[in-house]
Amino acid sequence: MSNTIVMNSGEDEYMRELKEKTEYTGVHPQKFGLWLAMASMTMFFAALTSALILKKGDFKSWENFKLPNIFFLSTAVIIGLSVSMHAALICYRKARFTAFRWLFFLGFMLGIVFLLAQWLGFRALASMGFPLTGNIAGQFVYLVALLHGLHIVVALLITGLVLIFAIRARKDPLFELRNIINPKRKLHMELLVTFWHYIDIVWIYLFVFLYLNYR
């Protein structure tokens, strides 16, 4: 298959110039930018969880409870999401677009399932006697899950757009060719999948954190 040859001829011009004309650090600048954004988001969630610790120390108002089991399900779903997104990226790199589209679609759907699972978690919390406006201990679970969910929504919107373009052009060989030879598109796909991995890891952190604080 001539795919490999095409891919090599599409060697990233930008990176080549970066290596020749600048004090090259070994990282694509935009990838580096995403890492910085991830550092920033980490500070955001660190602020939320430290607020929880601070508040829990004031035990007078803290009413402890066990985290609903449904959050185990959402954690499993989000791990599945990361796996399928990563597999999709591998297929994309190897120009296996049919597999890419299916795996990417699967990841997208798992994102929606994750949000549904979180919503079920909220309902379980409420039925345990911890509605949104109830005890402060319950409020924190809603807070971190909602603000994390907001990140998932943003990632889903971007993924949805990419998915629409990918499905629309599935019978168009030129579109696929463009995908193979365009390093910028490959970079953007990598950035998107990295972002997915990041917010998935954030949820695993939040889940473990909540699990340890609520028992």
Binding site: G10, D12, E13, Y14, E17, L18, K21, T22, E23, Y24, T25, V27, H28, P29, Q30, F32, G33, L36, A37, A39, S40, M41, M43, F44, A47, L48, A51, L54, K55, D58, S61, W62, L132, T133, N135, I136, Q139, Y142, L143, L147, R168, A169, K171, D172, L174, F175, L177, R178, I181, N182, P183, K184, L187
Partner: protein
């Protein structure tokens, strides 16, 4: 296949975008909208930030004039105010509600929209690509988004002036419980005005973060050949650490505001507990308003360094260029910036000494607060060392840079006093605090910003600003700035944010000083209008930069201040991609002034045979 997925080979060619470094290779006629509005060029984005900042500077300054009028002449009426402010100044007297709103908006606008957005946004955008030798930012698109988030934040904040219940009025620090409920019976600004404030701040934080990511990614990844970190001008060092500070501390404020809006809109009680309004106990249980203060000041204190570090960077550059001497103690300057950034994350609770903070914990924060004086003093020493025995040119940028040093010393000394918790507890919420932070981060940061505008105006527009107007602007602002804030140190016990002191006999002896300050404030504000006139006049009619040489392809080159940094090696015409040919490569540090019998040696000049590189 539907029509819009039809692709011709020509299309494919057109879309093979290699993410070119060489902007000039991209032969694409930019439309008016792409050139002036949705522009991805760092120079245009810098101008957009600057002009938006100037707009907010005028609004924020005007607010201070209005509330100084109320403070200076609490029993007078000014009928013309009713014409402009309507119900907020019935009978020509500013209402107490609007007074509080003005104080709140003055703080928000100047801290965030002028001295963060306007200062960092302008100079980081203009100087980072020029001084590191890059064609543009790491991502021009994200950079453009950064400005448009700032613009949307500005629009939302401006709209909040026109809502029925008025803009936010619970202080720029937005403390709950006052701002924690949407109950306009307690505080009118707690209504829609505050929600708009929170939305504007959220947009602003997004703008600041997207901008910051780009600044750091550009500085670390797009330096031209030879530009090692220790060859970076101090401006770039300052922008780098400013952006790092913002990236790591703004999320805490975002989290704080998110919790606040959860309380306000969804009825949670993160910050609220046992609130009684009009004799009724509300349903909020278990929250703590102190939690907000922790989240707020975790940003709030680094924020003052986000404001002052770019000014410090600009001043270091301007002092060296106009003293015609290498910067004194380059390495110490860089280490000081790093030290300030690290320590600034460990001092936030010095804003909270009166919240019932454990005195042992307070002692830790006192220690770190006083420690910051060390790198700050090193920087002051080095600035003075730079000017010492230099061939000083006393032009407007240099004067403003020296004014910065003066203000920074005056305001910094009172910081040492306030950093001690026993003294702070006495002085908390008095005009002493107002004097301290206005001098050290308000006026000083403005001086740094003015130094930058006068100095890099030729880089922006290829013209100079008018010197005479610049001198008047400087002397009025310097003398006026001290006239406003110096007397405040001696207004013992006078509380901040009060609408009037007429009812307190004990403060009557300050009546003269209060009026004096108000008059000085009006004079200083007028002088700033002179700057605005000078700025816009000079864009079109200013004296042009002398052309030193013209290249074969028709570009002209000039170095108006004989500066050694890379921005002056680019043509006077501002082109996309900054340099028409190859990017200049760097061979020496940025402060080779008055060496080897030359007035300056540009960074892209190779070392002469036998010349030892500055380390």
């Amino acid at each position: 296949m539907s029509a819009h997925t039809t692709t011709t080979p020509a299309d494919v060619h057109g879309h093979v975008d290699t993410g070119h470094i060489h902007g000039h290779e991209h032969h694409h006629e930019a439309s008016w909208l792409e050139t002036y509005v949705f522009c991805q060029d760092h120079k245009t984005i810098a101008k957009q930030f600057l002009i938006t900042g100037i707009f907010w500077g005028i609004v924020g300054g005007l607010l201070s004039v209005l509330f100084r009028m109320q403070l200076g002449w609490p029993n007078e009426t000014f009928p013309f105010l009713e014409t402009f402010l309507g119900k907020w100044a019935e009978g020509g007297k500013i209402s107490n509600e609007f007074y509080l709103a003005m104080v709140t908006m003055h703080g928000t606008i100047l801290v965030f929209f002028v001295l963060t957005g306007g200062l960092s946004g302008t100079f980081a955008n203009l100087l980072i690509p020029y001084q590191v030798g890059a064609r543009d930012m790491a991502s021009g698109f994200i950079n453009m988004l950064s400005y448009w988030f700032f613009f949307s934040a500005s629009v939302v904040l401006f709209i909040s002036f026109f809502v029925q219940t008025g803009p936010a009025s619970g202080g720029w620090t937005a403390y709950p419980p006052l701002n924690g409920m949407r109950d306009v019976a307690i505080n009118k600004g707690s209504g829609l005005g505050f929600d708009l404030w929170a939305l504007a701040m959220t947009l602003f934080i997004v703008s600041s973060l997207t901008g910051g990511l780009n600044y750091v990614a550009t500085i670390l990844n797009l330096r031209t050949k030879g530009m090692s970190m220790m060859k970076l001008p101090l401006t770039v060092w300052a922008f780098l650490f400013t952006a790092v500070l913002g990236i790591l501390s703004f999320p805490a404020l975002l989290a704080g505001v998110a919790l606040l809006e959860f309380d306000r809109l969804l009825g949670t009680s993160f910050y609220l507990n046992m609130i009684v309004v009009n004799g009724h106990l509300l349903d909020y249980r278990g929250g703590s308003p102190i939690l907000f203060q922790h989240l707020f000041w975790f940003l709030g204190h680094p924020e003052v360094y986000i404001i002052i570090l770019p000014a410090m960077g600009i001043v270091s550059e301007v002092l060296a260029v106009h003293s015609r001497k290498p910067i004194f103690g380059y390495r110490a300057m860089v280490i000081s910036i790093m030290a300030i950034v690290i320590i600034s994350f460990l001092v936030w609770a010095h804003h909270m000494f009166v919240t019932g903070l454990n005195p042992n914990l307070a002692a830790v924060f006192v220690l770190f607060t006083l420690l910051i004086a060390v790198p700050s003093a090193i920087k002051v020493f080095n600035w003075i060392g730079t000017v010492w025995k230099g061939s000083v040119r006393l032009n407007p940028p240099m004067l403003f840079a020296m004014g910065f040093v003066s203000m920074f010393i005056s305001g910094g000394l009172t910081g040492l006093m306030l950093g001690n918790s026993p003294i702070d507890i006495q002085l908390h919420d008095t005009y002493f605090v107002v004097a301290h932070f206005h001098i050290v981060m308000g006026v000083a940061a403005f001086f740094g910003m003015f130094a930058g505008v006068y100095h890099w105006f030729p880089r922006f527009y290829g013209r100079f600003m008018n010197d005479t107007l610049g001198y008047i602007h400087f002397y009025v602002t310097l003398i006026g700035g001290y006239a406003i804030f110096f007397p405040m140190h001696f207004m013992t016990g006078l509380p901040r944010r009060y609408y009037t002191f007429a009812n307190f006999e004990t403060f009557n002896n300050f009546n003269f000083l209060t009026q004096f300050i108000s008059i000085a404030a009006i004079v200083v504000f007028t002088a700033q209008l002179l700057f605005v006139v000078n700025f816009f006049y000079s864009i079109f009619k200013g004296r042009k930069v002398d052309v030193e040489r013209t290249s074969e392809d028709g570009y002209t080159y000039g170095n108006p201040w004989d500066g050694a940094t890379l921005e002056w090696t680019a043509p006077i015409e501002r082109i996309h991609g900054n340099w028409p040919g190859e990017i200049p490569s760097v061979h020496r540090w940025p402060y080779d002034y008055s060496v080897n019998d030359k007035p300056y040696i540009s960074q892209d000049t190779p070392l002469a045979p036998g010349e030892v590189e500055h380390k």
